[in-house]
């Protein structure tokens, strides 16, 4: 490594030993103390490595299994999901692949069905744990934040779908399976008290609520959970975008005739509207 003075980055996550002939190339890399290419590459599973990265310690097999099942559940949010639709817009437009994933990330980050909603749920899990009356009060309340923020105030109970009727089957299926494999307690607790919580929320449980509970069982805080969720939701958006890129714009929906302008001053050229 060069001895020149310059900016110093501090990290407990990553360390490198340089090659003898090139200080800018690593001969060995260490992640949280593990040799990446000698130990992790031949032995670690992807979800073990993810949890090592995000939590700093090697996870148990049960924790890695829970994250893997969660990842399968959310790898494709569905074609109607806003983040997937945004990615398809980008794909059919033949934007760059990075742009497609950036749009999926941006549109998947929101307070309605996105990573920020998961983060809000994690804050509640941290504050309330398995306090049912506390959850019921929190879900029924719509607190006004003290300070202005880049995020708008929540308009619905976090983790629940204000546009839903009953808890959708995939959400129930995911909750049941994750609760069965989880080494933690909150997924099972959520499954047991789902209906009481839905009653307090005035809305059915949403996938974001299940995701947040799974992340809490994995001991992920709101920031780590939000980051992971953003990443794990990308595959479906990516492939749907690629498909639309190949199918072409002629078969892609055009919304023009579905847009109804409510404040129209009318034509200015004398022709009838």
């Amino acid at each position: 490594m060069s001895q020149a003075e310059g900016p110093v980055y501090h990290t407990a996550i990553w360390a490198e030993e340089p090659e003898a002939d090139n200080p800018f190339a690593a001969r060995a890399a260490y992640c949280r103390g593990y040799d990446v290419y000698s130990e992790l590459l031949p032995q670690a599973g992807w979800f073990e490595y993810l949890l090592l990265l995000f939590r700093g310690e090697r996870p148990s097999p049960a924790e890695a299994a829970l994250l893997e099942r969660l990842a399968v559940a959310i790898a494709h949010p569905g074609v109607r999901d806003a983040s997937v639709r945004a990615a398809m817009n980008s794909g059919v437009s033949q934007a760059t692949h990075a742009a497609t994933l950036m749009t999926a990330l941006a549109v998947g980050s929101g307070l309605y069905g996105g990573s920020e909603e998961v983060a809000v749920c994690l804050r509640l899990w941290t504050a309330l744990g398995m306090d049912l009356p506390g959850w019921q009060a929190a879900l029924a309340a719509r607190e006004a934040p003290e300070r202005a923020d880049i995020w708008r105030p929540l308009e619905h109970a976090p983790g629940f779908d204000p546009n839903g009727e009953s808890c959708p089957t995939p959400v129930q299926q995911t909750l049941e399976l994750l609760a069965a494999v989880s080494p933690g307690q909150v997924l099972s607790w959520l499954q047991e008290h789902r209906m009481a919580l839905e009653s307090a929320a005035g809305a059915p449980l949403a996938m974001t609520g299940v995701i947040a509970a799974a992340c809490h069982d994995l001991q992920l805080d709101e920031h780590r959970a939000a980051m992971l969720v953003l990443m794990l939701r990308l595959p479906g958006a990516a492939v749907q975008a690629l498909e639309q890129r190949e199918r072409g714009w002629r078969q892609f929906p055009f919304f023009g005739r579905h847009i109804h302008l409510t404040d129209d001053p009318g034509r200015r050229d004398g022709e009838p509207s």
Partner: protein, 120 residues
Amino acid sequence: MSHQPLRDAENRLDTAMGKAFLSERVVLRGQDLHHDLSDLDWFGLHLFGITGRRFSREACELLGYLWACTSYPDPSIWPNNTAALAGSVRATAGLAMAAGLVSSEAGLFGVKPLVKVVDF
């Protein structure tokens, strides 16, 4: 091949684009932002930053008119649709704008054909 270019650039960034000497002065393309460029409005400064050139009042008016009269607030235009989707799911304004912007660097419309047309 050698790592010498990396070594030469290590801990050093040479730039003619500008620097902020905080609490003292700001330089943009060799000009003092608050003195030499103080007569420029935002659009003129925007163009100077990109091109290094000062545009005439007439040219700025022409470009400004082009910018304004092609600003279609229509959510059927796909990058706008993306920004609208971001709003509908309550993402932040910055994320919504960024998502729409990167989507406009497209092959079917937007930046890629624009670059080809300019080159032609």
